[in-house]
């Protein structure tokens, strides 16, 4: 990893820095993001309030940072849980084959039929709002993507010689899976996951915008858009700021995510 070109190192640093900023920035906001102050509604940009205040007098800048925390935390959780579930099931399905494979793949196929957005809306609608319910509903539609990919990797990989020789040595199945196959699959699937961060952030924002996701008084970019919608004609800034933030953040995640993916691809090709 340390042998990377300077440009590549910059990509990784910027990416991780932005993530960290959003995760920990919440603890350093100038104002309490939930503190309403009806005397200061719709204040414009000033030294005190960098991005002004919203319809309830809350500092927009603080809310954006807090919203970033929510968005990123939620997205990372979604990806982590989907990865763990998906890769585990894909590993089992691909390695053992047979009936287990068939059952898991039928489940995946059935889930894949339904459009992800609609299922996410329905599940979060049923469970109600709130951070963890949003995480669960998006995980429901994400896990099978990772499952499918890891299964196909495993199916190809398990025919290779080092797996065969491990088996002949008498290594137990779970050891083979953990020590040999798991690291291989993880590194491959990780690149997919990194690129997915942006997409999940958008999904979380969409759900919150519709009212099914993160609930008040928590801050979240999509939620802020929902709140600001009514005041669009009079105070468009309320809507523009969260929108631009979502857009910028997803651009950053996507851009660096795809760069990192390209780097890993090149590394893999070099090894081959």
């Amino acid at each position: 990893m340390k042998k990377l070109a300077r440009k590549d190192r910059i990509y990784i640093i910027v990416f991780i820095s932005y993530l960290l900023l959003l995760i920990f920035g919440k603890y350093f906001t100038p104002y309490d993001p939930n503190q309403a102050d009806m005397t200061k509604m719709f204040a414009s940009f000033s030294a005190n309030h960098l991005l002004g205040t919203d319809n309830l007098g809350r500092d927009v800048f603080s809310r954006i940072i807090a919203g970033g925390h929510t968005s990123v935390f939620t997205s990372l959780m979604v990806i982590l849980i989907s990865l763990v579930t998906g890769v585990a099931l894909g590993l089992i399905s691909g390695y053992f084959g047979g009936a287990i494979d068939w059952i898991i793949m039928r489940m995946v196929d059935t889930c894949m039929v339904f459009p992800a957005t609609i299922i996410a809306i329905i599940v979060s609608g049923i469970l109600g709002g709130g951070t963890w319910n949003v995480i669960i509903s998006i995980v429901c539609v994400k896990w099978f993507q990772y499952c499918r990919v890891s299964r196909s990797i495993i199916v190809a990989e398990k025919e290779k010689e080092y797996v065969m020789s491990a088996k002949l040595d008498g290594m137990k199945s779970h050891s083979i899976m953990f020590k040999h196959l798991l690291p291989f699959v993880t590194s491959n699937v990780m690149t997919l996951a990194v690129v997915d961060i942006g997409r999940v952030v958008l999904t979380v924002a969409s759900l919150s915008y519709l009212g099914f996701g993160i609930q008040l008084p928590n801050a979240e970019w999509g939620l802020m858009l929902n709140e600001g919608k009514q005041f669009f004609s009079t105070h468009p800034i309320i809507m523009i700021v969260p929108g631009v933030t979502i857009f910028m953040s997803v651009m950053i995640f996507n851009f660096f995510g795809s760069r990192i993916q390209q780097m890993v691809d090149v590394e893999n090709k070099k090894e081959d």
Partner: protein, 316 residues
């Protein structure tokens, strides 16, 4: 041999329908809360437990689940999907009123997608790594990151409020009314298609049969449209099959932004108010739509590449 294939398809369709119906039925069972209370609202507080229970009996809600499922399935085949818990109207009527809007919206979005992605995909492939390619790449990044609900709101502000050239409320009856909603819905899908088409055309250009066709003296235009594009299109069509589901999901959000009375808005209200019969019918409808669109995509792939069937059969 073909008959066996068709029989298999029919059997698959039936199995799919049953699985779909079971899922739709079960999902709604998971909705927390008591549908009877939800229906009666405040009046439920006044009624005694026994009375409520009697009501439940009359709705068949105390029967074992399998019986409920069979009864539900029976009524579906008779076209009775129950009544909406919000409006009291039959679900079929509500859906019938709104489905036209959503389908028009989806169709319009598909046209936008095709008109934008196909030419751009071809152009990018032709000037690979050129200036135009880089510009379109930037455009793709831009629209991939763009939240479609925000785009919609910005467009409304720009065209309806500031410039006043297009209506803020989408409507499928006029072309002007459809412009913004279809564009908003369609444009967020274009980046993946542009990239896919570009990639496929570039790869097909390298293939041997293109060189062979050139060596036979066939015109470049003919080679491009009848040989290259046809080869590159199959994965695009497959992606399209998958996208159709997302298109329906995106339509939900778009309808909300443009205040269009479509299926999406209906489903959002239903979910918010736990209108279980509506949700059931909606899920069922979505499942069937996906199934039909997958079948159409399969048929399309067969037309593009008639060899698929024969290849599959010969491998056996």
């Amino acid at each position: 041999m073909k008959k066996r294939g068709k029989l298999k398809s029919v059997v698959n369709a039936i199995i799919f329908f049953f699985l779909l119906s079971i899922i739709c039925f079960l999902v709604v069972q998971l909705v927390p809360g008591d549908p009877v209370r939800a229906r009666l609202g405040e009046a439920a507080a006044v009624m005694s437990k026994d009375e409520l229970n009697q009501l439940r009996d009359s709705y068949g809600l105390n029967d074992p689940i399998i019986i409920q499922y069979v009864k539900w399935l029976g009524s579906i085949f008779q076209g009775d999907f129950g009544k909406s818990l919000i409006s009291g109207q039959p679900v079929v009527l509500e859906i019938g009123r709104t489905i036209g809007t959503t389908l028009s919206l989806a169709l319009g979005a598909i046209i936008v997608m095709a008109v934008v992605s196909i030419p751009l995909g071809i152009v990018c492939a032709k000037c690979k790594d050129g200036l135009l390619d880089k510009i379109v790449n930037g455009f793709c990044m831009f629209f991939t990151a763009m939240p479609n609900f925000w785009l919609g709101l910005i467009l409304i502000q720009l065209f309806a409020v500031n410039l006043k050239v297009l209506p803020a409320i989408g409507s499928t009856s006029t072309l002007r009314g459809m412009l913004l909603p279809c564009f908003t819905l369609g444009v967020t899908f274009t980046p993946q298609y542009i990239k896919l088409l570009r990639q496929n055309i570039i790869e097909t250009l390298k293939k041997d049969f293109v060189r062979a066709a050139r060596a036979r003296g066939i015109s470049e235009i003919r080679i491009f449209f009848f040989h290259i594009l046809r080869d590159a299109f199959t994965p695009v069509l497959t992606l399209f099959g998958i996208s159709l589901g997302e298109l329906l999901g995106g339509a939900t959000i778009t309808e909300q932004i443009y205040t269009m009375k479509g299926l999406g808005m209906l489903s959002l209200d239903a979910i918010k108010h736990a209108d279980i019969y509506m949700i059931q019918a909606y899920l069922l409808l979505v499942g069937i739509c996906i199934f039909i669109s997958n079948a159409l995509v399969d048929a399309g792939c067969r037309v593009l590449n008639p060899a698929i069937d024969i290849k599959g059969a010969e491998k056996k």
